[in-house]
Amino acid sequence: MMKRAFAVLAVALMALVFMGVIGDYVELQALRPLARHYVTEVPAQLGAPNVVTGILISWRGFDTLGEVAVLFMVAASIGLLLKKDSAGGAAAGGRDARPPAGEIVTTGAMVLLPLIFTFGAYVIVNGHLSAGGGFQGGAIVASGVMLMLVASPSATLNTALLGVIESAAGVLYVCLGVLGLVLAGGFLDPRFLPKGQFGAFISAGAIPLISALLGVKVGAELSVIIDRFRS
């Protein structure tokens, strides 16, 4: 009874806070000054039509590097925690004992996989032009890997190779950042490559390069995490 009263009280307080936040909401008629600054400066300075990816990869590039480092740490610690478990499962014949996926899943995976991987690659390399970018594209590729693993339970993923690819992408990412520090305004400044024609595929300095490296890194990391959980 006491517990329930506390729960109701907590919900009521939450509702009060929420009312305060949304009570005096009015729809904005114009952009806030900071947003207006970004919307005008990203196309002008970086040459990227997609403002979000432009901010994420250049001005907030250090933050993105931190996010990827967190993902790397998650993948490493999951590998550490689940390693012994998977060895025990393999010893008990875990991999071969898994039942095969149903026909619907297998056929659906065969139809969908090429589409998912193509869409992921498109989102990664078109990050500076349309919605998306390295992080989102990498997650889409990893969800394709997930479907692949669900459709063929006995398949194994070459996690060692994925680890090497992921580390190489990370090293190259930091190298591009240092290049920006040396040749342009600061760490992860993408303007050391020519800006190119606005809206063209090869444009916006080093943003597509950084985006592609990010996509490879995130995709490989998430795939390794999925494989660890599966085994």
């Binding site: 979000v52 919605a131 998306g132 990893a142 969800s143 998430l222 995490i225 959980f229």
Partner: protein, 81 residues
């Protein structure tokens, strides 16, 4: 029209969230919380944030559900508690 659509999607988020908490079957609860993520992704798309919507759909709805389902299966608690 857009406001109505957003309200419907928000009702979907709330409904599937409550279902995820209330359902006894862990697998069904997981599917329900994945549905909440999917509704959230749709609402982000309606609110003109396609970048966030993509990340939410791929990670929140796809990958985290996968990880949870494998965890449920590994701990052998797939059925009714």
């Amino acid at each position: 029209m857009l406001e109505l659509l957003i309200l419907v999607v928000c009702a979907g988020i709330l409904l599937s969230g409550v279902l995820a908490v209330c359902l006894n079957n862990l697998m069904a609860a997981m599917v329900s919380s994945s549905l909440a993520s999917l509704f959230a992704a749709v609402s982000f798309l309606l609110l003109a944030a396609p970048d966030v919507a993509m990340a939410e759909a791929a990670i929140g709805c796809g990958l985290s559900t996968f990880v949870f389902i494998y965890a449920i299966r590994k701990t052998g608690a797939g059925g009714v508690e």
